[in-house]
Symmetry: C2
Subunit: 355 residues, 2 copies
């Protein structure tokens, strides 16, 4: 079906380009997280952003000179939330995002990590680094915490309106990601729908079902059929395929329901002396659960379909989240995932559809 | 904005028609729940279904003759999951659902409760009992457990593909439901979207936004703007408006995430002797949380837009859920909600659109 997960092997001489200026906590937390990753994962880091600010941040953390494995590429501008996502990368040609993605395109590094604007990153990655030849749209593929140890939800917001062919490509890309990066040998792929029967959903789901069913029959993906969001949460599939609107609503519902529960649990445990004592007795388990729901543990969301590895870190990432996003970028870059998509692109196109 | 919530006053001489044969636990649990409701809420019950089976169920529960306030209307057939939802009601003219909805149409009762097939109930209610004049589509409007004490999510599965006009009507109907049945004076209405900005979403969201914004400006509804699912879960709105596909995915994600959490918590508390002791200390709070997530507490989902009150109870309803669904039907029937929709239908139509 695809090359088996090389992502778990140790990469050699890998360099991750990091947008030092993107996100709510830039550059402080970004720089800190990048330095941690350089140290821990023995990975080279190319920090892109205002050199002066980056060095100042290091100084504030007691670091006088550039550590081993860390370089800086100066970029004088920063893309922020006020910028038009579609054009920000060319309106601000010397922004950390534009410079970083250009370095990625020019192979000055093996992957790019940014906690900046999702919309701007998507546009910039698509137009600077370009999509894999034959891929119609790049997609966001986060790992959602589910009963099965996590499920790849693709797409999650990059493409509000989709065609069946986009979803076919998302299914392949999600499946390769699950096998390469998560180490699941024959990832179970489901089409997110409002019922398990083949006839469920709108025209997008019905037409996509046929394409995925065919790909499953030809053993190119392990397609289980339609899957309801309830069953996705119970771990029924490794990859749930959907349009970016529905995926985004689902992702943020999981997040919101998690926060809702966490709030209720906090209240229950803080009620009185006995409940506070109870909290101590189950602290270990609760910490594990909290960790499971914490986006920072994963680090970021892969942008699949771009010709080189790009990881979108959460906008509110702290140093720990950035450290983990860099680890994820390292796995992505060494996994052979993009090559696998390239090798199999012929099966991801509708027959007769133009390039 | 609309008549204030009469739904909380005690109704007089109300009769609820109950589909005794619908759902996984029919007729046993349905009959039991209906008898409980008759007793507790002093409401008349008209049980529709196989008379022999209903009487046998009563006998098994030690009831020798029909209790006060309870009648039976015989129907020889049952619509089941194998029937085509769109045509089941006419293929099986003597089914409990068809007979029940015909009785409702003919004003032999004030509301109808069924735990049978959602699709069949929707088709049958639309074609037998009919929609309110001017309403384009009926919608499912469940109360989702959220940080704000619950949010009406409309639509949740009745209409996979929607127009902006449908969503405008859902917004009005959801708002009236929240004020009449939940007693929220000026319900906060949000359009479910993948960002708060006006420009977010696809063409459905953008066009609907304009309609809702206008209705808000004219003070017909209290429109807050776009709302993300994460914020819906935190209680940001009383009513979240969406198409039936997205709503269904969101609803089942909440359910699935709840089950995921419940499973994890169970494991944490069952780990060892100390954790089991901790469970005892917070049992009260945990029971409350469980209750909050339990669909049985609410009873069912209102079908809004039908000319008479219809409540869809969960397919796996037990007696307690049915009892609560009957209470909900009673509130719905005495609330003036349908009259309010009728009085304001002129504001829910696109100018120039035909009847």
């Amino acid at each position: 079906m695809c090359r088996s997960g090389g992502g778990l092997e140790k990469p050699i001489h890998m360099k991750i380009i990091v947008d030092a200026m993107g996100g709510d906590n830039a550059p402080g937390e970004i720089v800190k997280g990048a330095l941690q990753a350089a140290e821990e994962f023995k990975v080279d880091i190319l920090l892109v952003g205002c050199g002066e600010l980056i060095l100042k941040t290091m100084e504030e953390n007691g670091i006088k000179s550039l550590p081993k494995r860390v370089e800086i590429a100066h970029a004088s501008e920063v893309i922020d939330m006020e910028d038009n996502p579609a054009t920000a990368f060319k309106d601000k040609k010397d922004s950390s995002m534009t410079v970083g993605l250009t370095l990625l395109r020019d192979k000055k590094g093996d992957a790019f990590v940014s906690a900046g604007s999702t919309g701007a990153l998507l546009s910039a990655a698509t137009l600077i680094t370009k999509r894999i030849r034959g891929i119609r749209r790049a997609a966001m593929a986060p790992l959602v915490p589910t009963g099965g140890g996590g499920t790849i939800l693709i797409d999650c917001g990059a493409n509000v309106e989709c065609t069946p062919e986009y979803l076919l490509q998302f299914a392949f890309m999600g499946s390769y990601y699950a096998s390469h990066i998560l180490g699941r040998p024959e990832p179970r792929v489901g089409l997110l729908n409002i019922g398990a029967e083949e006839s469920k959903g709108g025209s997008l789901q019905k037409e996509t079902y046929e394409l995925l069913e065919k790909a499953g029959r030809e053993q190119r993906i392990n397609f289980l059929g339609n899957v309801e969001s309830r069953d996705v949460m119970m771990g029924a599939v490794d990859v749930a395929v959907t349009d970016g609107f529905t995926g985004n609503v689902m992702l943020k519902t999981v997040e919101g329901t998690g926060l809702f529960f966490a709030g209720k649990l906090k209240k229950i445990f803080k009620k009185n002396a006995l409940s506070k004592f109870a909290a101590l007795l189950v602290m270990g388990g609760m910490e594990e659960l909290k960790k499971m729901m914490d986006y920072r543990e994963i680090g970021g969301t892969a942008l699949l379909g771009i010709s080189r590895p790009v990881i979108k870190a959460h906008g509110s990432s702290d140093a720990y989240a950035i450290r983990n996003a860099i680890r994820q970028a390292q796995q992505f870059a060494s996994s052979g995932l993009i090559e696998d998509i390239q090798d199999n692109i012929g099966y991801m196109k509708l027959s007769g559809a133009g390039e």
